[in-house]
Symmetry: C2
Subunit: 257 residues, 2 copies
DNA sequence: TCTAAATGCGAGCACCGCTCTTGTTTTGGT
DNA sequence: ACCAAAACAAGAGCGGTGCTCGCATTTAGA
């Protein structure tokens, strides 16, 4: 109806006439396409709001449509199911985290390897604290039946890729002096899938170490966000951050840097 | 009705007459009390089945009552809400994990500190692999509105307590040789809540180190169970376990043992 | 024995994800 | 410029959920 349509357009950027926005050939942004974009964005925004406020389990498509003033059935023109909506949100969360970490890491001088490592750890924690529910959307309880679609894996690996890059550069520096002992055959086999993404100059032990540190980082963050540090570490940001910095030092030491 | 009652009693241990089972004073097990126990246990069993099969989010009280042949409203005589049922299951899971880890640790000679540490790590992982959904019930995404009741905290600390015990004994051994440098004031303050449960002979750094290692352990397990090691570590038990053992070695080294 | 508490049941409420039908709007080819 | 086809919005409806309430029955304790 005209009513709901008006609501929808109100929610969004000025419904300027679509004709002055280049009616060029190719995909000349039609009214349909523009509306679709706007409404899709509105749905995602509302969904993000809901998740930020009360977590992924409370995400309700009916609540979204209610807020947007549309019929509950209309949303299925944009997302075939609640799971597809969640998938999109998951991808966005991965990208949001990835972008935040990449931005923080890029601000550190290239030659400062430990500084870059620190930046990765800190910005990951920072993002997690600022987006708790989105963090658990990604690193929390896996959804029973849910199988991660293909298009989630690329965004999912952004921060891991960054970590590997730093690890590789660190290995390159340290490879100049002395060869390292070979890892046990079983560990080598275990690492074989990861090996294909990591140059040979990184030893098996360095790879395993890096991965272990990586999971320790997320363990630390999950502990803090999950309340496992309640009555253990003082609940002020200064204390929490001091403990986190202590952990970073430990990880750097464990990496042999 | 007699029908559903029959079903219920069938599900459970023989409904032997309650009179021969000491009609003594005090809480002379009445028919009511016995049935209540039986039905409560049946509900919990069915709930555990559901969780083990498809996770906590899929836990449905109606499905439980259906399976037990009772009216959906009847379950509220036993658990006032779905959340209370979940709370009970959470407590049970904590206890189950705690008991498993305590049993494994107790089998190692007292003087073998690293062996006891290893036993804690391994049995925790083992339990998590065997009870994936229960693990995430405990260490997964925190429920938005959920506030852990008082009676969960004791079971929740069983494995942590065990870990602290080993840490303390290790500190006692190493305290004989040399004092350790004081930790920064901020870290000391951060650790103050934990300090009240840990004797003074454990230094701040040792405490923080132990805690960090503890969270790393759960980070590692969550990574494995959460699928974060997919395409990273080979998905066979031998490979997974080899990588886990490598991590244990790293943690022991980080603890300075 | 007799009252009060505990228990079971069914109807019902408000919500959920999702489907199907109907009627309207927009698009694109002729 | 017209018209069939596609996209879309709305509403009713289905089966599911957690939970409440009133009523009948059973048990406990005085």
């Amino acid at each position: 109806m005209a009513v709901s349509r008006a609501v929808l357009t109100n929610v969004y950027a000025a419904p300027d006439s679509c004709q002055d926005v280049r009616v060029a050939k190719e995909k000349a942004a039609s009214i349909r396409a523009l509306n679709r974009e706007r409404i899709t964005a509105a749905i995602l925004d509302a969904a993000r709001d809901q998740i930020a406020h009360s977590g992924a389990s409370a995400l309700s498509v009916r609540a979204i449509t209610r807020e947007l003033g549309m019929a509950s059935s209309a949303i299925y023109r944009y997302f075939p199911s609640r799971d597809d909506l969640l998938t999109k949100l998951i991808i966005d969360s991965y990208d949001s985290l990835g972008a935040a970490v990449e931005a923080a890491e890029s601000r550190v001088p290239r030659e400062d390897l430990t500084g870059r490592f620190r930046a990765i750890c800190r910005s990951t924690r920072r993002w997690a604290l600022d987006n708790q529910h989105e963090y658990f959307l990604i690193y929390g309880t896996p959804v029973p039946g849910y199988k991660a679609p293909q298009d989630t894996i690329a965004p999912a690996t952004r921060v891991a890729t960054l970590m590997i890059t730093v690890l590789v550069e660190a290995a390159a520096v340290r490879a100049t002096n002395g060869r390292q002992p070979a890892a046990p055959a079983e560990l080598r086999r275990a690492l074989s899938p990861m090996r294909s993404s990591v140059p040979d100059l990184v030893s098996d032990a360095e790879m395993a170490n890096g991965l272990s540190t990586f999971s320790a980082l997320f363990g630390a963050i999950s502990f803090e966000l999950g309340g496992q540090l309640h009555n253990v570490i003082r609940e002020t940001e200064t204390s929490r951050s001091a403990y986190f910095e202590f952990q970073i030092d430990g990880w750097i030491a464990a990496l042999g840097w």
